[in-house]
Amino acid sequence: MTTRQAPLSPFWQYKPQLTSVLSITHRGTGVLLSGGAVLLCGWLLSIAAGAETYNMVNQHITAWYGQGVLTCFVFSLYYHLCNGVRHLFWDLGMGLEIKTTYRSGYAVIIASILLTAATVYVRCVQ
């Protein structure tokens, strides 16, 4: 069987624009969060395994790099959630005008940054 060369995805071909960058970021954060889901599974298993295993895992979570990774996950989740809502509106046929997609795009960026900052703040003052 011969396979034809598949066409390149749009983000490889065109000059980056807000809309295309947000689109590929949606995928990127989705893939990252899928990895996070697997780590969540590992975290749950470590608690089920007992204190010794959990402490071994937790020592990495509480370290600076662990907290850094967690912050990336938190931002990815907020971004993917906000942009996902944007997608759901599009599925309903709403907000498809160019001007509106740019406005909602900026709103997604601002909302996910603010939510991440709020979460980090709440965690720090805790």
């Binding site: 989705g30 204190a51 937790n58 938190v74 996902g84």
Partner: protein, 132 residues
């Protein structure tokens, strides 16, 4: 395979009721959106609860999961999360992997991983909830 069954299969209406592409695609599309909507409150709850938990040492994490409300929500959250993740990863694989063989292999591997993680996570939550 006769032409009749092949056509029926493509239309998603073969005798086994397990059609390809046609109806299955629509169903996947719907489930993907349903899981997305369900994950909005579930993931916000998850992140809020973990953020506001004062300590995440062993005792703190254990008692958080052992609480009935957490156990129930996690048992709802985990399958929805892995279903949604798999749907997304599948879409990425379908878009970027060109060889049909590798595509099928990648999708099956990801499916196995998602099923394993779902079962293992739920088993862990049940074990913690029952205090075993």
């Amino acid at each position: 395979m006769s032409r009749q069954t092949l056509l029926a299969k493509i239309r998603g209406a073969d005798s086994t009721g397990r059609g390809d592409s046609g109806k299955r695609g629509t169903r996947h599309w719907w489930y993907q959106r349903l899981s997305a909507v369900a994950l909005i409150p579930l993931s916000l709850w998850f992140i809020y609860d973990l953020t506001t938990l004062a300590t995440l040492d062993y005792a703190g994490a254990h008692s958080w999961i052992a609480a009935p409300s957490t156990s129930i929500l996690l048992v709802l959250f985990i399958p929805t999360l892995f279903y949604h993740a798999l749907a997304g990863i599948r879409e990425v694989i379908e878009d970027y992997i060109q060889s049909e063989r590798q595509k099928a292999l990648a999708i099956v591997s990801m499916k196995c991983l998602a099923i394993f993680c779902t079962v293992a996570s739920i088993a862990a939550v049940i074990k913690i909830y029952l205090g075993l």
